[in-house]
């Protein structure tokens, strides 16, 4: 797995053709298999990783081929390759046939490939334990293995007795490592790079943030990490990685997406010709984040790469609670705690933040950061405001009471609401109480604190509460059913 680490180059390790002596000449008649070239080392490797379980992989391998027809085997491609999306490019090489005939080497595949071939059957006599060995031809493997032994036809282990099956050799296209093979003609000797690109499953990335919030100082630090996850079955060494943020879940198959991706790539290329555009915009609705330096991503590895480190980003804390409709509760409800900060350079930040989970920490009495909650942010461009919900305040509660419900007129009810906000903290707090379901025909006719309409269906009041004390918000709403 780590064998290729740190090595850049290397080319086609030429495996001498097994049978024929006439290696490099004009295209071979089909009866003679073409010589097999095996390439294992990437000269360059590009990974474009999408958020969820998808990557575009491009291997650049040194080509060094005499003229003639060749079967080129690319070892070390992703085991989760989507073979329909393979594309192959090299100057001077004409593609005849492109096969991803990579089959995992399994007992079942081994038997399947042995159809028409001879295997050896070694049986153990269940009575005496004596072994007998016979040569057999595999006739079929569908729903059971049918064998021809001498002039008899029988089914493998039909009697339930032990029988070893010995295969002479492992067939060429059954491999323990993922391999892609192409059949190509070289009109003249080739001495240039071969590019192989395809889509693969099994790779994904996420962004994670760590914020250490300092309430007293009114700021937070923010560190960002990219987690690259490689479950592709293959390790990638010294890859140039770029990350694409964007949701491709709307398409139902990778193939469809690939078609769209290709057409988009073409249209974008045209646009670029006319108007100057930055590289980042070329993917249209997607955001592309290149990783500055090469990285090695082993199979089954989760790797984290730092991409953001900001200190003293201005931040503040806010309490709020929303209530739908008018109801009393004997049980006070804890207020939600939010940490707000602006993604702006004025506030100490101001970079594009990919969507991800922010874990918020606060320091305890011994100055040790403790985890206090997490929230997800969407892709956030510079200049946006963020409000992270981190949890419920232990010491700040709101208790709603319907003081009185009365009838104003036909189809008009009046609700007198009271929200008692209690604060057991040693500092004063302001709690935003949001009344939801306040449609157009709900009218606030009296209020103890001036409120505001926050949107078409909600109203909000900011209630200041003294330290270790309580405050009451009262308001009256007339609700019409028309």
């Amino acid at each position: 797995m780590g064998g290729r680490r740190g090595i850049y180059l290397i080319a086609l390790a030429l495996v001498a053709p097994v049978a024929s002596g006439q290696t490099a000449s004009s295209p071979q008649p089909t009866s003679t298999p073409p010589p097999v070239q095996v390439t294992t080392e990437d000269k360059d490797l590009y990974l474009t990783v999408y958020n969820r379980d998808l990557a575009l992989i491009e291997h650049v391998r040194a080509g060094n081929l005499p003229a003639g027809r060749h079967r080129i085997e690319f070892k070390g491609v992703s085991a989760r390759i989507v073979p329909q999306t393979v594309s192959f490019g090299a100057s001077g090489l004409t593609l005849i046939e492109q096969n991803f005939d990579y089959d995992l080497l399994t007992p079942a595949k081994l038997m399947e490939k042995a159809v028409g071939q001879k295997v050896r059957i070694v049986r153990t006599n269940p009575g005496t334990g004596a072994e007998t060995s016979e040569s057999a031809e595999v006739l079929s493997t569908v729903g059971g293995v049918v064998l021809r032994i001498g002039d008899r036809i029988e089914v493998l282990r039909d009697d339930g007795n032990p029988a070893r099956v010995i295969f002479d050799k492992v067939p060429e296209n059954l491999r323990a490592s993922p391999t892609l093979s192409v059949l190509a003609d070289a009109a003249r000797p080739v001495n240039s790079d071969i590019r192989l690109s395809y889509l693969s499953r099994g790779l994904s990335w996420t962004a994670d943030y760590v914020a250490v919030f300092n309430e007293a100082a009114g700021d937070t630090s923010l560190q960002g990490w990219i987690t690259l996850d490689n479950q592709s079955g293959t390790s990638f060494a010294n890859a140039r990685v770029q990350l694409v943020a964007g949701d491709i879940n709307m398409v139902d198959s990778v193939e469809q997406w690939w078609l769209r991706f290709n057409s988009r790539r073409q249209t974008n290329a045209r646009r670029t010709a006319g108007v100057e555009r930055s590289a980042r915009e070329q993917l249209g609705d997607y955001y592309v984040y290149p990783i500055d330096q090469r990285t090695t991503l082993a199979n089954n590895q989760k790797k984290q790469i730092s991409f953001l480190s900001a200190d003293r980003v201005k931040a503040s804390k806010a309490y709020e609670q929303s209530f739908y409709g008018f109801a009393s509760s004997d049980e006070p409800v804890a207020a939600e705690v939010r940490v707000r900060f602006a993604n702006s350079s004025a506030a100490g930040l101001g970079s594009e933040l990919p969507s991800g989970v922010v874990r918020v920490y606060a320091r305890d009495a011994r100055d040790q950061p403790q985890f206090v909650g997490e929230d997800r942010i969407d892709h956030t461009s510079a200049g946006s405001e963020l409000a992270l919900k981190i949890g419920d305040a232990f010491d700040v509660t709101v208790q709603p009471t319907v003081v009185r419900t009365s009838r104003v007129d036909w189809g008009q009810g009046e609700y007198e609401m009271q929200y008692v906000v209690r604060n057991a903290r040693s500092s004063p707090v302001t709690v935003t109480i949001r009344q939801l379901g306040m449609l157009r025909f709900n009218e606030v006719t009296a209020e103890s604190i001036k409120g505001r309409r926050t949107d078409a269906r909600s109203y909000a009041w900011d209630v200041p509460v003294p330290a270790n004390g309580e405050a009451t918000l009262s308001f009256t709403v007339v609700q019409r059913w028309w």
Binding site: P107, L156, A176, Q304, I305, R376, I390, V396, A424
Partner: protein
């Protein structure tokens, strides 16, 4: 955005163990582990490897403080030794295939090479290629060693850019699943029924395979906003054994079985995959395989004897402090928390807290129908969590168990789940249903007042749908002590707040509802009479 990663192949510095470890346990089934480690950094770019971190760590939560150097990459590597990983990591290696002839007992040992471990295992034997475990013969593989990557402790590593050389004290922290805590309360109500002695226990549990020696342990009481793991968050997958600490009082065997089942599943999946063979007739597929022929899974399971999962009860008092908007309770001295151990400590002890023990009834309909006979009054403890009641301490959510004097001794009177109760909050806990307190509810709908009817007929105003109810409730106290009963009557949805027209007990209000309070002396009965009037809000 500039994402920086440094090229590989530089100096590596190892940190074999933590100098100090701190464990902050949350109620949601995870802990924040903070390790203090000392590393000596060279000036050039370096990879620091922290060995022996907790295997259940969430790598995306790892934070390293105090490096004083830019961090380029972090990495968490851990491969658990399982029958499957052992095979997978042995591809290309030479192992011994051992076959036993069932009839003669002759054991054949052959050197073979594992060439593929996918859906089934393919071996290269001196005779050719063969599939492992497809012949029906008893066969097993013997390995010479555990591949080194499976033998290793879980490690967390960090790649640092070049910077100042020297010793650093680094704090490495990360979240790990498999920990939980809860609080439990024991309230002893005194014979006067107006005071209680309140004791609070914190029970913490380490359900991981890692033991912590001399760790600083604290617990956080707070409801954190967490996202599920599907959303990239830290929330542990739901696991009833972690959420139900009451289980610890059950025989440890049950929990042990559950834990086994939890671990067994993925491993067996792997093994089943490896036993795939050539297509055989369905009848042959179920060919019996002697259990001894299987790769023995037993060594990888944690066969913890029940006695090791003991509950440790310590007399330790814990210290409380505020952590942002939560409460943090600290065990004041370093303590051991072993793998699969449950530990308890007292965090609260308040004698003679002023309480009120009342019986409560709430009616929420104006329809003249009798409440179900099963609706016996609730028995409730009520107090205010403040200093003048003799309390005034934050009370984290937990099970609240009430003990009351009875005759010579004490009885368990009932329990209730209490939510977080900050200081200053009124608390009401229903812990039982009344016994020996019989109630007869009578409610009848009255005809609308004649005069009123007339008035409304004369006016042009729309006559609202109005209801008038007369209630007579009889309370028969068969107890040898007086009881206090609170009756609340709400109008229900769509009705205006009921107006009390008349009552034989002074009407009060609670949560916007009509409320009556009466005291019934021992072995006597009292009646509550009132009339309510309400109108439909919108008709």
């Amino acid at each position: 955005m500039g994402i920086c990663s440094v090229a590989t192949g530089q100096t590596t510095v190892y940190s074999p163990r933590a100098d100090d470890i701190s464990l902050t346990i949350y109620r949601d089934g995870f802990a924040l582990i903070t390790e203090t480690r000392t590393v000596d950094l060279p000036a050039e770019p370096v990879t620091v490897v922290f060995q022996g971190v907790v295997d259940a760590l969430l790598s995306q939560s790892a934070v390293m403080l105090g490096m004083e150097r830019p961090l380029a990459e972090t990495n968490f590597a851990y491969d658990r030794l399982t029958p499957l990983s052992l095979l997978e990591r042995s591809v290309g290696k030479t192992v011994t295939l051992v076959r036993t002839n069932r009839q003669t007992g002759v054991v054949t040992r052959t050197e073979v090479t594992i060439i593929s471990v996918e859906d089934g295992v393919v071996l290269e034997t001196p005779d050719g290629s063969e599939a492992f475990k497809c012949s029906g013969l008893p066969e097993r593989l013997e390995f010479n060693e555990v591949p080194p990557e499976l033998d290793a402790d879980p490690t967390l590593s960090a790649r640092l850019a070049a910077g100042a050389a020297g010793k650093r004290t680094v704090k490495v922290s990360y979240l790990a699943h498999g920990f939980t805590w809860s609080s439990d309360y024991v309230a002893r109500v005194d014979p006067s029924k107006s005071r209680m002695d309140l004791t609070g226990w914190v029970t913490l549990r380490n359900d991981t395979n890692t033991s912590f020696r001399q760790a600083h342990v604290q617990v956080v009481a707070g409801k954190l906003h967490l996202l599920s793991q599907d959303e990239g968050g830290s929330e542990p997958p739901f696991d009833s054994s972690l959420h139900d600490l009451d289980e610890t009082t059950d025989p440890a065997v049950n929990r042990h079985d559950r834990l086994r089942a939890r671990e067994e599943e993925p491993v067996l999946d792997g093994l089943a995959r490896l036993e795939k063979c050539f297509p055989l007739d369905d009848a042959k597929k179920v060919q019996p395989v002697a259990p001894t022929m299987r790769l023995s899974p037993s060594p990888v399971f944690h066969d913890i004897p029940a006695s090791l999962s003991e509950v440790m009860v310590t007399g330790a008092r814990v210290i409380r402090e505020e952590l942002g908007d939560y409460q943090l309770y600290r065990v004041p001295w370093p303590t051991d928390l072993n793998a699969r151990q449950t530990k308890q400590a007292v965090f609260l002890s308040k004698p003679r807290v002023k309480v009120e023990r009342i019986y409560s009834v709430r009616l929420d309909s104006l329809e003249a129908e009798e409440p179900e006979p099963a609706d016996a009054p609730n028995v409730m403890l009520r107090w205010v969590n403040n200093k003048s009641s003799g309390l005034g301490e934050p009370l984290p959510a937990g099970e609240f168990r009430v003990f009351e004097p009875a005759g010579e001794g004490v009885v368990f009177a009932g329990e209730a789940h209490m939510t977080d109760k900050p200081v200053g909050l009124p608390v009401e806990l229903v812990f039982a249903r009344a016994m020996d307190l019989d109630v007869e509810y009578t409610m009848e709908e009255l005809e609308p007042d004649e005069a009123e009817e007339e008035a409304s007929r004369d006016s042009d105003a729309y006559d609202p749908d109005r209801i008038r109810l007369r209630a007579v409730h009889r309370f028969i106290n068969n107890k040898s002590m007086p009881v206090t009963i609170e009756v609340r009557h709400a109008g229900g949805y769509g009705w205006t707040t009921p107006e009390v027209i008349r009552s034989n007990v002074r009407a009060g209000r609670r949560s916007g509802e009509a409320m009556f309070r009466l005291r019934v002396p021992a072995r006597e009965e009292r009646s509550l009479r009132y009339e309510l009037q309400a109108e439909s809000v919108y008709d």
